[in-house]
């Protein structure tokens, strides 16, 4: 939430700002934390037409993401080709939402200069940006140069049947999206690689056997034999997956040095309770029994806690594959 909103920032007077054609004021008002207000401002800016262009393009450099999003929305409404170079630059914005909206805007403006920078956006690591780029390219009547590009396009649109029909040439596109953050997308890519059934998919499938998602790993196992990978090699490939097991030695040392933290490290909620009780007890014993007696009493207890944490960590069941 915006700090100014917390302080009860006043809702911007959109009608007044629009009447005065106060572009700078409207741009600033895009920071107001209400999507409906932001959308309303973007529409007003869009209705100002080409006279707002220069100021809007300049404001695209603002740090606040909400401002950039609002301006791109306005530029989409204005549809002035002078915005194309600035929007192309925005395709490399750090925010995936801004990149996505920039791709959509370029499609809406429909200028053919956008084709060249939109094609690499089909390889963006974010599925929304890829979808926006594919959508925009379709609007500009772009034709893929070859089957590999065509596969990137259909993968961006998530038209999986079309991707599958491309066959072997779709392997680079499908391998690329195996790095997507959405495990459902990764699962789908693995499934299609299996259906294509070409040995060239082997590195991608072996890579996916070590995926963080158990469902992606399972799909990779099912797809591997179809691509000619011998089943016998799969268990080793799967052994590379991120392990969720905890180190007993760390748990033990932690429990000895900071009693309770070893338990907290292995996910036991009561670890922090022991930690707090230990602090209180130490202060109390220290005050009433003196320093030497405190150490003599607590040291064996800490040792026991360390040994206990070590053994329970060691005996913790392994999570399912």
């Amino acid at each position: 939430m915006n700090f100014f909103n917390l302080l009860g920032r006043k809702k911007p007077d959109i009608v007044g700002l629009a009447a005065r054609k106060d572009i700078a004021g409207l741009v600033k008002a895009l920071q107001y934390n209400d999507v409906d207000v932001q959308s309303q401002i973007a529409k007003v800016l869009g209705s100002l037409g080409t006279e707002a262009m220069d100021e809007l393009i300049l404001a695209l450099k603002k740090k606040d993401k909400r401002i950039r999003l609002g301006i791109i929305e306005a530029l989409t409404l204005i549809k002035d080709p002078r915005a194309v170079p600035a929007l192309i630059t925005t395709l490399n914005d750090e925010s995936s939402e801004v990149r996505w909206e920039a791709a959509i805007a370029l499609g809406e403006i429909g200028d053919s200069r956008a084709i060249e920078p939109l094609v690499p956006a089909l390889k963006d690591h974010d599925k929304y940006v890829r979808y926006g780029a594919a959508f925009a390219l379709a609007k500009i009547d772009w034709k893929p140069a070859d089957d590999i590009q065509k596969a990137y396009y259909f993968a961006g649109m998530q038209e999986w049947k079309a991707v599958k029909l491309i066959g072997k040439s779709a392997i680079p596109a499908l391998s690329h999206i195996l790095n997507d953050r959405d495990s459902n997308v990764r699962q789908k890519a693995i499934e299609i690689l299996g259906e294509i059934g070409n040995p060239d998919a082997t590195p991608a499938l072996i890579h996916s056997l070590g995926d963080a998602s158990s469902e992606v790993r399972w799909k990779a196992v099912l797809s591997s034999p179809r691509c000619g990978i011998r089943l016998m090699h799969l268990p080793r490939g799967l052994s590379r997956r991120p392990k969720m097991t905890k180190n007993p030695l760390i748990a033990g040392v932690l429990n000895f040095m900071i009693p309770g933290m070893g338990y907290a490290y292995i996910g036991k909620w009561w670890g922090l309770m022991i930690y707090e009780v230990d602090i209180a007890l130490t202060i109390w014993i220290f005050k009433y029994w003196g320093e030497t007696n405190t150490y003599e009493l607590l040291f064996p207890i800490y040792l026991l806690l360390a040994v206990h944490a070590y053994y329970i960590t060691k005996k913790m069941p392994e999570p399912p594959i």
């Binding site: 268990p235 309770m273 209180a280 399912p320």
Partner: protein, 322 residues
């Protein structure tokens, strides 16, 4: 001296070891830190023939999982029937499902029918990888199902749901047995098929699954129950008896009574720790001032109120979660 040179120097020359037939060192490399070295060492061992069988069987008891996986892989490649007994024993009893899976696949690679009984038992394993590996291995040893029950277990292992539906009633027993599966997606699929097959056994089972801890599985059980003839009026009561996976309201309130804040932490509220820190600090300061016991007379009436609030908060949240 570049780091790359140093790393390259550290990599063992596996082809030289293979040519020298140095089985002992190749086995040591199965636990190497580099995944590729492990992989190539296992492959090299697989080309050593029957000479490597006994040393590889010996390391099946090694504490390192990579060594055991590599040894199983190599035994599968060597295809020496002397390994069947050790692999079957591992398949039947090892607690790590990854190793059971690899053992099943190796038995398939060896391709000897002696391993069939162990593989048939593995079709009933509670892990989908082991079942799948066993079904694929049975194909490799040329096994074909003689009974409907075996056919059902085999089809479930391959997740060939259409084949299971076609099998009908004989599949009911194996489907119910494999509801022990840990992955909710498979339990949900099983309960859906039970609904399609129907019958008394399936009906009883659907009633049981209505108490599954997973929401999706319970929902599929609701839909299947109707198809199995379970009256819709009994469903809400059955569902209300489901296993609760959330925190215990009583547990959280008792905890909050004795250590204010930890009950909230137990219930998954991050700010519980903040309250606990503050409470413990205040308690310790009060103890230093008033002695060890007096502060509890002041604090317990307050924490009792929080304990009540915690109990009702968790009850309400559980109701809303459904």
């Amino acid at each position: 001296m570049s780091l790359g040179w140093f790393l390259a120097r550290g990599k063992p020359d596996i082809s030289a070891l293979r040519q020298a037939r140095d089985i002992r060192r190749l086995i040591l490399l199965l636990n190497h830190g580099d995944f590729d070295v492990q992989w190539h060492a296992a492959r090299a061992l697989g080309t050593m023939g029957a000479d490597a069988t006994l040393p590889l069987i010996h390391v099946l008891g090694h504490p390192g999982i990579n060594t055991r996986l590599g040894a199983i892989e190599a035994l599968g490649a060597i295809r020496d029937p002397r390994a069947i007994e050790a692999l079957a024993a591992l398949l039947a009893s090892h607690e790590t499902s990854e190793l059971r899976w690899a053992a099943a696949l190796a038995l398939g690679e060896i391709g000897d029918k002696t391993g069939t009984p162990a593989l048939l038992s593995a079709l009933r394993d509670d892990d989908r990888y082991v079942r799948y590996g066993a079904a694929k291995a049975l194909e490799q040893v040329g096994w074909s199902a003689e009974t409907d029950q075996d056919r059902a277990y085999y089809s479930i292992a391959l997740q060939d749901w259409d084949a299971i539906k076609k099998l009908g009633k004989p599949a009911t027993g194996p489907l119910i047995d494999l509801l022990k599966e840990r992955h909710p997606a498979i339990r949900a699929q099983i309960v859906e098929i039970l609904g399609t097959i129907g019958g008394d056994e399936a009906k009883k089972c659907c009633e049981r699954v209505l108490r599954d801890p997973d929401g999706d599985v319970r929902w599929r059980a609701v839909l299947s129950s109707r198809r199995c003839g379970v009256p819709i009026s009994v469903l809400p009561l059955q569902i209300s008896r489901r296993q609760r996976t959330g925190p215990s309201a009583i547990g959280a309130s008792i905890l909050n009574f004795f250590f204010l804040g930890i009950g909230y932490d137990f219930a998954g509220k991050w700010w519980g720790l903040l309250i606990l820190e503050t409470y413990m600090m205040l308690l310790t300061l009060a103890q230093l001032e008033l002695g060890p016991f007096m502060p509890f007379l002041i604090f317990y009436p307050v924490t009792a109120l929080f304990a009540f609030q915690t109990y009702f908060m968790i009850q309400r949240e559980a109701e809303m979660a459904g």
